[in-house]
Amino acid sequence: MKGYRKYFTKKIVWFLITLFVAMVLNFVLPRLMPSDPVAAITGKMAGQTTDTAAVQEIYSRFEEEFGTNKPMIVQFLIFLRNLFKGDLGTSFSQYPRKVSDIISSSIGWTLALQIPAIIVGWIIGNVLGAVAAYKKKGWDKIVMPVTMFISNIPAFGSAVILLYLFAVKWKVAPVAGGYAFDMIPNFSWAFVKSVIEHYQLPFWSIVLISIGGQAIGMRSMSIYELNADYVKYSRFLGIRDGKIVGYVFRNAMLPQVTGLAMSIGGSVSGALVAEIIFSYPGIGSTMYAAVTAADYPLISACTLIITIMVLIATLSLDIIYGFIDPRVKAAQFDA
């Protein structure tokens, strides 16, 4: 038990250190961008004024308000202090909206889109891969290359093609947005139906790209396991085929679960392309808008969320593996 405690303490300490360093980087990197968002706000506030002194007055007023005239380290300390209060700051580009307000209105869309899509893609991919490994011939010769080719179409490419075919050409899917253009959010069946319709294209575009990678991985793992000695031995012993296959796929699944956890952890950053192409409201679109507008507080918040999600995924994997994988266990006691 002592080994476990040591293992987990170490993992958690590293988790915290990583989190802190990532936070510093998340804070500093956007601010290295050679742009001045205060000037952007000033521009909006001042309009086409011909009075130049007034413009400069507005500028210094906002510089003061955002604290951009202070040294980076002071800015960071203020950021940390506010963070502990749950305040992610005020957005530059959507001033005076709060960052937390912007994030909370977009993250739901992203999670609702990405997580089911990743899971469905993962399931279909694994089933395909397993079948390909088991059935070989036919499946392996045709289905695998096809899935592989599809998975090699860049994400934006398949999104654009889906958009063109279904929304522009055949007009069977809506063109943009999270719900119908002629609706106001409410709790009616019609609205839910509209949300589902708008969900389809971005959903399937994500499913499509994730299938291939999963299928290939699962196929390799399954073949590896199918060729393993214990399978041959079991066959030799005359154990039922179905039972062997059960063992094989359970073993092959283990690394695939890692993949699933990591994809879910990375879902927020993966949302970028699909959300932009389909004008889907979500954190990907938000982040893209934030980057192009040099909206530091918003970028920092988005990247922070991504960081935390990936970190949590990694940490939980580490912990779960610590319990279930005998090799990891051994390594810890060994050390």
């Binding site: 250190i17 290295l32 970028l272």
Partner: protein
């Protein structure tokens, strides 16, 4: 070694991928010989010329004419100017104008034309037609006027009194007799550039970007992975910590931010490739590390250690050769992901800044900026997607093939 090669040559997956990749490479090398010149030259004024063969109208009028009497030429001419929908629309207008059209069939072009010519009045404002419909009727009228005008076109030289030549409806010119004929198999893009020529050149640039990015990523990943795996202990902890930091800050965001921070004028294709490499090495490092860990307690490594060989020597002679095949495969995957990253970055307008070399991502970016995908100009973006998919498909096929050769356990 030769045995491995032989096995590779016998792996259908590897061979298909390899041949596809070589075919792409050969096209990149050979096509410019047939179609030389600057791939970014704007040959068309205007945007998105359709794929097809273009003949010089100027040359055609002065070429040797032959008279051909083709039975349905006139019908085709009318069909090209007046679609079935146009005819229905014309009847609609006529009936709204108060003309009795109950007897007229929509397929009876002559009857419709006759009624139309007799009645159409561009200035009549008829209730019930929208602005765009009224405009469309005027456009139909323009086409009909052109169709119905004289049978002979007379060409004058600028400023001259006498006609230069006359063209009648039965005049034909042999395609081979025209001095200037240009085939644009994939049309032109929004700048009026030859898409095929640009695509071939861009594929070359993108492969180079992929190679640079792949090399950078593999070198960093390999070095860190080897060190972490072999040294273990604190060095391992620190290296893995750095790797985790790079993993948790999403590569894509990192990429955007770094390439942003680099400043605009330095964002050439090479720099972008290096930046891509610098953000995508993490999984190579992780996998190399785990491979090395499984190797480091092997007997031959321990033997070398006991013999007092230096760290460098042990890594180079006792570890590297055992994971070489693995590294090659990782490199191939990095190349293909580098090409994808460039395309993705450029699509968001964050890719390389260059006006002299086309890249696949920039082509895609311009096509999107001029909404080629919504206005039906498929030739401006679809071949680009297909090219990216083919390059990365061929690389991945090779990779899978190699995987099977190097890991006998994976063989079918």
């Amino acid at each position: 070694m030769s045995n491995t090669l032989k096995n590779l040559l016998h792996s259908p997956k590897f061979m298909v991928g390899f041949i596809l990749f070589i075919a792409i490479l050969l096209t990149i090398l050979i096509y410019p010989l047939f179609n030389p010149g600057n791939p970014l030259e704007m040959i068309g004024v205007g945007t998105f010329a359709k794929p097809g063969t273009y003949i010089s109208l100027y040359d055609a009028t002065s070429s040797q004419k032959e008279t051909l009497k083709i039975a349905n030429a006139e019908e085709k001419r009318i069909a090209a100017a007046l679609s079935d929908e146009d005819r229905v629309k014309m009847l609609e207008w006529l009936s709204a104008y108060g003309v009795d059209v109950t007897e007229v069939d929509a397929s009876n072009t002559d009857a419709i034309l006759e009624l139309w010519m007799a009645n159409y009045n561009p200035d009549a404002s008829i209730k019930g037609f929208t602005k765009s419909e009224t405009r469309n009727f005027r456009l139909i009228q323009n086409r009909i006027t052109e169709l119905m005008s004289a049978d002979t076109l007379i060409i004058y030289e600028e400023g001259a009194e006498d006609s230069k030549s006359k063209i009648v409806k039965t005049d034909y010119v042999n395609l081979n007799a025209i001095a200037n004929v240009k085939t644009l198999p994939l049309g032109t893009d929004n700048f009026g550039r030859d898409v095929l020529k640009e695509l071939v050149s861009a594929a070359g640039t993108s492969i180079i970007i992929g190679l640079i990015a792949g090399s950078v990523a593999t070198v960093i990943g390999l070095t860190l992975g080897l060190l972490a795996g072999y040294l273990g202990g604190n060095a391992d902890e620190i290296i893995m910590f750095i790797t985790t930091v790079f993993t948790v800050i999403p590569g894509f965001v990192l990429l955007i931010l770094i390439s942003y921070s680099l400043g605009q004028d330095q964002r050439g294709p090479t720099i972008v490739a290096i930046v891509i490499g610098c953000t995508s090495w993490t999984w190579t490092a992780r996998s190399v590390r785990s491979q090395v860990i499984s190797l480091r307690n092997r007997d031959h490594v321990n033997l070398s250690k006991l013999s007092g060989h230096s760290l460098g020597r042990i890594i180079l002679t006792d570890i590297l050769p055992y994971i070489a095949s693995y590294v090659v495969m990782a490199f191939i995957l990095q190349v293909s992901s580098g090409i994808l990253s460039e395309a993705q970055l450029s699509l968001l307008g964050l890719g390389p800044k260059t006006t002299t070399t086309p890249t696949l991502g920039l082509m895609m970016n311009w096509a999107m900026l001029y909404s080629a995908h919504t206005n039906g100009s498929w030739w401006a973006y679809f071949p680009v997607i297909l090219t990216i998919a083919c390059i990365s498909f061929s690389l991945n096929l090779m990779n899978t093939g190699m995987d099977q050769v190097f890991n006998p356990a994976l063989r079918d």
